[in-house]
């Protein structure tokens, strides 16, 4: 089991290294000259050169790569061209906001999917099952930005229950979290419902009933345990999606998260910031997946023994 885990860790670190390199190369090849963005439109070559010297984009590419890599190793991602602040502190401000939004959305989606999926599996075609199918169909067909706009129209401009934009307290999380959750809910719901139907049909569930295990325990411990692996898998996929989904929601709701920061950074050709955001996001993704692999091993004794 430890060997299995270490191998996965090594694979993931290698992948991360590759991403770092790719980000560096692609940025230089495609993003153009940041000095031209920062400098006044008709600035002379002299002025541009001064900006380039300041940004460090005047040195040859290999030299830039070396200083970039040695920076990363030290945890120093450089200074943002646009904000003239350490990239690290910019990300440190925004990341918790995004994490909070993404986790709220995930909890909401998984919570609702569990409730409706379990109910739907226990009573297929019951009204809760139908409600779940309807919500899933809606979430699947409506794009996040449209749902976001509709939510703003109804619940903030119309009813005035929640703020439309920005962040001022937990109430600002509600609408964007719903918009994002609706996007991941359909897959979660389908997976949980199917796994629960499968779980409840297992013979050992009948055994548990025959031995007088209470019905709630059979559903939420025995059958749900059977659904744990697919659930963890789909949550892993959700997390990948959330990285993108939050960007859309952050833009629609003008929410001060890392997605907004990323879009600003790209528009400003702010190499250090774009690089750092990409790498941090990729690292989160990689480590979340590693965590999910680990959860797999904990959850399924058969994998645990074989590995």
């Amino acid at each position: 089991m430890r060997r299995f885990f270490l191998r996965r860790l090594a694979q993931n670190l290698l992948m991360l290294a590759f991403i770092v390199l790719a980000v560096f190369v692609i940025m230089r090849l495609t993003a153009g000259d940041p000095a031209r963005i920062k400098a006044p439109i008709f600035a002379s070559e002299d002025v541009l050169d001064r900006y380039r010297a300041e940004f460090g984009t005047d040195t040859p590419l290999p030299a830039q790569l070396v200083s970039f890599l040695s920076g990363i190793v030290r945890g120093d991602f450089g200074e943002s061209f646009r904000y003239q602040e350490p990239v690290f502190s910019l990300i440190a401000q925004r990341l918790p906001q995004t994490a909070m939004l993404a986790l709220s959305a995930l909890l909401l989606a998984v919570g609702v999917a569990l409730l409706l999926g379990v109910a739907g599996a226990r009573r297929p075609d019951g009204w809760l099952d139908r409600l779940g199918q309807a919500i899933a169909a809606f979430g699947q067909s409506a794009p996040t930005f449209w749902i976001g706009l509709m939510l703003v129209l109804v619940f903030s401009l119309g009813l005035g229950w929640f703020p439309a934009v920005g962040f001022n307290g937990p109430q600002s999380l509600v609408l964007p979290a719903i918009a994002i959750a609706l996007a991941v809910l359909p897959a979660d719901l389908r997976v949980i419902r199917t796994a629960m139907i499968d779980g409840l049909a297992q013979e050992y569930i009948r055994t548990a009933r025959a031995f007088g295990i209470p019905e709630w325990r059979i559903t939420y411990v025995y059958a749900l345990r059977n659904a744990a692996l697919p659930l963890v898998t789909v949550v892993g996929i959700d997390l990948g999606y959330l990285l993108g989904g939050t960007i859309v929601a952050e833009v629609v709701f003008n929410y001060p998260g890392i997605g907004q920061l990323a879009i600003d950074a790209v528009n400003a050709r702010d190499y250090p910031l774009v690089q750092a955001i990409t790498i941090v996001t990729a690292a989160i993704f990689v480590f979340v997946n590693l965590g999910i692999d680990l959860l797999y091993m904990v959850l399924d004794p058969r994998i645990r023994i074989e590995a």
Partner: protein, 355 residues
């Protein structure tokens, strides 16, 4: 209905249920279990009655699909959707289980009324250790610390002849051999000292060599612990080794009931006779094909109006097709549902019509 006790079974082998003193542990009357299928209603268990007495083992035999398992599940109140018990009484120690509140029935299952299923590979939960499952079952019924529950589980495992029980408790079911798994399943059934155990083909999924061990174990446990046993099987040899009396089922109906030895030695119902004739025995010559019962179980749509066995019965007369014979006493302590039962003194073809 009351027939004199034959006494042929000797003490501890109740022969005539109606003449025994005391109360039966389980008394099933007119049990009818129906499944709603696309083709309409299908009666899997049709008007079946039987008793199980303290310390007795009732065998239930019959071809695959004759309704043995459904009958067992009906007693436990575990018939799955789209099925359900449509009629009848299931009295356990005098209490009608069908009228019990769900919570009371749940409390009964696993404590006073336990079950051993056919295939321990699928009946045990692969995601939990043996110990976790056993302690869970204990704690569904009793306030017990993990420690106490584990001690109880260890004790029962030892009782069923599992060596190093503490170690087995930490194992997952799939880490154990088939025979060991079934011993674990039996230990689970014994956890709370039930009064009645229903064993639904507990040996069918096992190797032949292990079957005998499990049968021996059940017989021995029953003798020592004094529980009653319903033993379901289509292996007549196994049933005659375990059971005191036997109930023969065919297409959902009880066709014969009586002491196991006499019933298999001199069947009254032609179906029982066919079953006995087609059963492999030690004496049956190797290589010689076993006689099989011609025809097959009637499906939901082609159940005859009269006797369910009429289409396959060599002795069927017009009345058999028209009129359903009730399960009725034929000889002392023995009942059959047949218009022309195979009476020992009568030649095989000239039975007298009853009813």
């Amino acid at each position: 209905m009351r027939a004199p006790r034959s006494g042929a079974g000797g003490p501890g082998r109740p022969v005539d249920v109606d003449a025994l003193p005391g109360e039966p542990v389980l008394s099933v009357r007119n049990l009818t279990t129906v499944f709603a299928t696309r083709a309409g209603e299908f009666t899997a268990v049709d008007d079946v009655s039987f008793d199980v007495w303290p310390g007795e083992c009732l065998g239930i035999v019959g071809e695959s699909g004759s309704g043995k398992s459904v009958a067992a599940l009906s007693i436990l109140g575990l018939v799955d959707y789209p099925g359900g018990v449509a009629a009848g009484e299931i009295r356990f120690r005098g209490e009608d289980l069908r009228r019990l509140r769900p919570e009371a029935l749940r409390a009964l299952r696993g404590s006073r009324l336990a079950v051993v299923f056919q295939d321990p590979q699928t009946a045990l939960n692969p995601l939990f250790t043996v110990g976790r499952q056993m302690t869970d079952f204990v704690r569904a019924h009793r306030r017990a610390s993990t420690r106490e529950a584990t001690r109880l589980a260890t004790e029962k495992l030892r009782l069923v002849g599992v060596s190093a029980p503490e170690q087995r408790l930490r194992a997952y079911p799939w880490e154990l051999s088939g025979g060991l798994r079934q011993r674990v399943a039996i230990a689970m059934a014994l956890l709370l000292d039930p009064e009645l155990i229903i064993a639904d083909e507990p040996t069918t999924a096992l190797d032949v060599s292990i079957q005998a061990q499990i049968v021996e174990l059940l017989v021995d446990l029953k003798q020592r612990l004094g529980f009653s046993l319903i033993f379901i099987s289509h292996d007549l040899g196994v049933v005659s080794a375990v059971a005191d009396r036997v109930l023969v089922m065919y297409a959902g109906r009880a066709v014969e009931r009586g002491p196991v030895g006499e019933t298999f030695a001199h069947p009254l119902h032609p179906y029982t006779a066919a079953l006995v004739a087609s059963a492999p025995t030690l004496e049956s010559v190797r290589g010689r094909p076993l006689p099989t019962i011609p025809g097959s179980l009637p499906g939901p749509s082609d159940r005859p109006a009269g006797c369910v066995f009429a289409p396959r019965c060599p002795r069927a007369q017009p009345i058999c097709w028209a009129e359903q014979p009730p399960l009725a006493p034929v000889l002392p302590g023995r009942e059959a549902a047949c218009h022309f039962p195979l009476l020992p003194d009568a030649p095989a073809t000239t039975g007298t019509a009853r009813g």
